[in-house]
């Protein structure tokens, strides 16, 4: 009897293709996605490197040597010039353009090497005369500044031994009473040999000595922000994910109307399919916009998300995101043949889009390939747009890529939904 019950369930599973797919394919899909995001064996070779803009205001040999050593670090991608305009030459970064690049989110961190760095890159002693590098950071990425700080200290230790020796000699002369001319000559000789035998920049492990160089960190977006710098990200990320879930659920009302015959009855009245889908879109978009509004107002009340001064940008992004999410719900409803199928398809689609698009885990912390791949989802575009408004405080005109893409998605999804909805028209 027990076997009969089990066998009938097995038959049921075999006939229910959607459930079958969910049972076996979805876990594999999610395993693959999260493996790619957090780095499995296949992802190790392309673990996230930190993009850093380096501005060398000093230009000395030591400074150049330091920059080259940084560039040789596997964990860093050093950018010294911005991408050239069409047909032009690359523009070397300046302190101002480097800061602008961080502010715009092009890179998470920039390093300024000040004039005079080359004279004494390293300085021992308690008098606070260490050379000061300036690290400009985007605090929404908590990892990049820390990694860069550590690598700067490592490079100092391993790639610039002669600078350390020279600095040590200075310290000795200052605090130890000076060297005899003979000692000085021998030291210079050894220093020369040391320079010739300089190890490769990235060779050898760091052997402590942190703090050889002072790094002054400056957060470009930190002053007027929420208490938690990630709050805008979470409001947008989670907001969009739940928007998609509720749009898919609300789209299910159409399936219910089909299954009960109510859709047939409606289409026999003066309501055409265009008007019906238009009405559904208005309702779904209004609901989605209200959901985002509640989410962000809650963020403002509880987490100090700064709404003041951002209402216009919020409105623009909310309208575009709500339209895209609503048409997504309509499209899913049009594709699905039953409510059960809709639930299965929408769960799979929303979870995959949210994982890849950065609703669950910030895209800027993902490997580069996953960051680019995430742009196929509307989550990524919506989150980027809200980040521009609330975090980077970019001008509204800078929202055009997000507005164009999200509106384009909405038009595409609605057109497809309308086309597929022909199956419900008179036969």
């Amino acid at each position: 009897m027990i076997w009969a019950v089990a066998r009938s369930r097995l038959w049921n599973l075999r006939h229910d293709r959607a459930a079958f797919v969910l049972s076996f394919v979805v876990p594999i899909v999610f395993f693959t996605i999260f493996g790619a995001i957090f780095g499995g064996d296949s992802g190790r070779s392309e673990t996230r490197t930190i993009r850093v803009v380096v501005v060398d205001e000093d230009g000395s040999d030591n400074a150049k040597q330091f920059v080259e050593a940084l560039a040789a670090e596997k964990g860093l991608t050093v950018l010294r010039s911005s991408a050239p305009q069409a047909g032009g030459t690359p523009n070397p970064y300046t302190a101002a353009t480097a800061e602008a690049a961080v502010r715009a989110g092009d890179v998470p961190v920039a390093l300024l090497i000040p004039l005079g760095f080359g004279d004494r890159p390293v300085r021992f002693g308690p008098d606070g005369e260490k050379p000061k590098l300036t690290l400009i950071a985007d605090p929404s990425d908590p990892i990049a500044p820390e990694v860069l700080s550590g690598l700067v200290q490592k490079v100092m230790m391993t790639a610039m031994p002669e600078a350390m020796v020279a600095s040590g000699m200075d310290a000795m002369e200052r605090w130890g009473g000076g060297l005899t001319p003979d000692q000085r000559a021998k030291m210079q000789e050894n220093l020369k040999r040391l320079k010739e035998r300089r190890p490769s920049a990235s060779a050898g492990p760091s052997r402590g000595g942190a703090g050889l160089v002072d790094i002054e960190r400056r957060d470009v977006l930190g002053d007027k922000k929420a208490r938690n710098p990630m709050i805008a990200f979470y409001a947008a990320g989670l907001g969009v994910m739940f928007l998609l879930f509720s749009a898919a659920g609300a789209g299910g009302a159409i399936i219910e109307e089909v299954e009960t015959g109510t859709l047939d009855r409606i289409l026999a009245t003066r309501v055409s399919m265009n008007r019906l889908l238009g009405g559904k879109l208005v309702y779904l978009s209004g609901l989605a916009a209200a959901q985002l509004l509640v989410m962000f107002v809650w963020g403002a009340l509880v987490f100090g998300l700064p709404m003041r001064g951002h209402w216009t940008g919020f409105a623009i992004m909310t309208v575009c995101t709500a339209l895209a999410a609503s048409t997504f719900g309509l499209l899913l409803a049009a594709i699905s043949r039953s409510r059960m199928q809709l639930v299965a398809i929408s769960n799979l689609a929303v979870l995959v889009m949210s994982a890849v698009g950065g609703s669950m885990f910030p895209r800027f912390l993902m490997p580069p390939v996953m960051q680019r791949f995430g742009l196929v989802t509307l989550n990524a575009w919506a989150i980027d747009g809200f980040q521009k408004v609330f975090w980077r405080e970019e001008p509204l005109t800078h929202l055009w890529p997000q507005v164009v893409v999200l509106t384009g998605i909405a038009v595409l999804f609605f057109t497809l939904a309308r086309r597929i909805a022909r199956k419900w028209e008179a036969i």
């Binding site: 009960t260 015959g261 109510t262 047939d264 009855r265 409606i266 289409l267 026999a268 009245t269 003066r270 309501v271 008179a426 036969i427």
Partner: protein, 308 residues
Amino acid sequence: MEAPLAISDLYKSFGSQKALDGVALDIGPGEILGLLGPNGAGKTTLVRSVAGRVRPDAGRLSLFGLGPSQPGAAALRGWVPQEICLYPLLTPRENLWTFGRYQGLTGAALSSAVGQNLEWIGLADRASDRTGNLSGGMKRRLNIAAGTIHGPKLLLCDEPTVGVDPQSRERIYTMIGELKTRGVALLYTTHYMEEAERLCDRIAIIDHGRIIASGTREELVRSTLGSRQTVTIDTEAEVAAPLAEKLGRLGATVDGTAVRLLADDAPKQIRELLGVLHDDGVAIRDLTLKRASLEEVFLHLTGRELRE
């Protein structure tokens, strides 16, 4: 004035399956035409064609001179589907408002129509309850009101009394009568023969996608069965097979203790039947003689019971 409904040579196939095979019928103003037919005969396809939900392959179908999908046709037509096509979470008032609005009513006209219809279907005191919580009969009445709220001149009623208790059915009959009084023409499908006999001015019988007979009840009986009468004899004991065979040779059918015969010459044929029964020692409990009914007409024409 154009007829509320005029159909001629209507054809529709789904793949190789012929659903409508040259249907022709018409309905006059204030007339109720009953559409009877076995399952799969083409009733639903015909009703959905008139509702504009099925596109015929060929033929003519006009509602007051308009095609079923032409602008203006929806306002003249009402449709009460067989299923309860309402929103169960909405109240009766909200459902009526929704379908009234879908039919183009606005403002005071809409509010007034909602109020009048709630009174008409006897749900004024339940107007704010959830529709899903109403009884089956109440939902059926609301289903009718949702199809008639805009005051159509032609109403398609697809088995509006299915699954309804006798009391609610009586109430629905009254509503149908009131619609007829208002001059509404009705195309009425049903599986209840007595309903068709009671409500309909004319009856059309459809089978295999064709109208095989139509007319008033009397016309149908006369044209199909002539002056034949139905003889029913109820025996005390179940009729044995050999006796049933003998009775069959006289044109009777046997079903348990019931012996039926459609008689051209009733007195003579009754004598013959009673003689055979007497010879076999079968006692008689009851004998009735009546005019042939629509049921016999239907059975005679389609070879099937209406509810098969």
